[in-house]
Symmetry: C2
Subunit: 341 residues, 2 copies
Amino acid sequence: MPVHPGGQVVMGHGGGGLLSAELVEQLFLPAFGNAAATATPTDSAVMALPGGTRLAFTTDSYVVQPLFFPGGDIGELAVFGTVNDLAMSGATPLALSSAFVLEEGLELDVLGAVAASMGRAALRAGVGLVTGDTKVVEHGHGDGLYVTTAGVGIVPAGVDIRPDRAVPGDVVIVSGPIGMHGIAVLSVREGLEFGTEILSDTAPLAGLVAAMLGVDRDLHVLRDLTRGGLATSLCELAATAGVGIVFEEQRVPVPEAVRAGCGFLGLDPLHVANEGKLVAFVSADRAEQVLDVMRATPEGRDSVVIGHVVDDHPGVVVARTALGATRVVDRPLGEQLPRIC
Amino acid sequence: MPVHPGGQVVMGHGGGGLLSAELVEQLFLPAFGNAAATATPTDSAVMALPGGTRLAFTTDSYVVQPLFFPGGDIGELAVFGTVNDLAMSGATPLALSSAFVLEEGLELDVLGAVAASMGRAALRAGVGLVTGDTKVVEHGHGDGLYVTTAGVGIVPAGVDIRPDRAVPGDVVIVSGPIGMHGIAVLSVREGLEFGTEILSDTAPLAGLVAAMLGVDRDLHVLRDLTRGGLATSLCELAATAGVGIVFEEQRVPVPEAVRAGCGFLGLDPLHVANEGKLVAFVSADRAEQVLDVMRATPEGRDSVVIGHVVDDHPGVVVARTALGATRVVDRPLGEQLPRIC
């Protein structure tokens, strides 16, 4: 499939699904050429520095609309999202940069509120905001503000968390209920009401990961469930590692309000974005212990085992339904929920 | 002076002059609170890692219009600009991240050309493009593409380049002719012709800095001359270090086409942006040697001594005119040339 038949950027290229992946594989990597990293796709790049220290390095731009939504805002998201990408390599987050593209006419009070939220989030996550930049574009060439954070962290000795370390037999754990961020943002954007108010799950996951590494230094795979949801993460991991994944649909925690919102909008909760949840692949003999420490943290208290890694159907994710049937789980093509993060 | 009396973001907040500095000091730093870096303002943050390695870390967003201009494009700028911010700490650049905010409808061929330019620039600068992100915003909420790069590098042992290391007696060196980037971009944007075509000076400066450190490990101050031009850099350095700076106006190399363009537009060449020039403050006893190695590099072949650091008038920059008079040099308030980088 071509990046896009019309030869133009479409909203789906930013959706985190198949179109996003194709843009990276078919446009960015060939264009970057020998300057591109050749490693398997991960949430953050890990580099060995002189002296043996391993540095994790990552970046994300944030374009969420609205800037403030139930349970969070763009500033908090920009801090926690980048902290979480570092944590998915097992890294201890150290410092963030922040670069703003402001639209002429933005209220300084709004910018101040976003920046204050970033400051609070950074303190909570234990990182400094050490360097930054600000650009301004004319009214009508932005949308209030976009912010890009990059982050650096240190990967502890002995830790080696990578998608391709998934092996058959690994237990698949999800750290809590899914779909909350996507439905929270959509509920205010579309002026929808789903009965119960739902809050974004935005949270820093480095503490949760540190607790997990405390009982299992050999953790195989971590991924945070952002754009594209649980389904996209599992499909990407299965494809990268060349393994199959089987999970029980009814074990995946879906809050009632997310279920209602998804039903109303015709969305699959497995495709909806999260901002404070991860999936972990853990050796079967460590799974119990890892689950215990996850449940002892605020960010992981609702962690559950949903399935496991299999030899069969490499690259394919299969869900067992409540009725005992099985179905193949796919990634969404492009955007279900544009500008969700 | 308040950040802006109207309480809104204006173009000048992105101009790199006084309004930009006030936005940082009066809005970002107070809002970030304890999470903010408290160090003196520098082009990149330097952090000590476990084991003693010192990491330089920096970021910049790029919003230049047009995306392609005489002598360069936004992709090359985004690589060299961030490499140069690392080099201004004396760091050897290691790796960059790239995060795109694309506008729906952008031609994929344009994106491909920008990405290919980034790949070539990264190879030339000796850095990898190791991690990235892509977001898409609706048509009318962007301007083709914005790109944010962040960079990491290693500061060699014994190197300590900081604005506040400027001391009276230091010799002030500029690495070549000024104003080329700003006038090159403006010439195509405004459809102006100034006789001679002028090309952007965009170039990676890490090689030049490495050569300088080879003969003077104790280099005091470096700054690349971007938004706000030579005047802004000198004023900021004088203020940060609490020293005075005196330079001879006629020693500052200004290409004839830059002079003509500035005359036509009513601009001061000292305020016009550069993307491949630096200013260095060097001990008087090393200045000759440093100048020699600078002139032996392609990026520094037109380096000249323009003045020196003085005890008098701390925080103030003074230019001696060709007629023997003196004048105080100021930073521009806001944007002279919006969206220049």
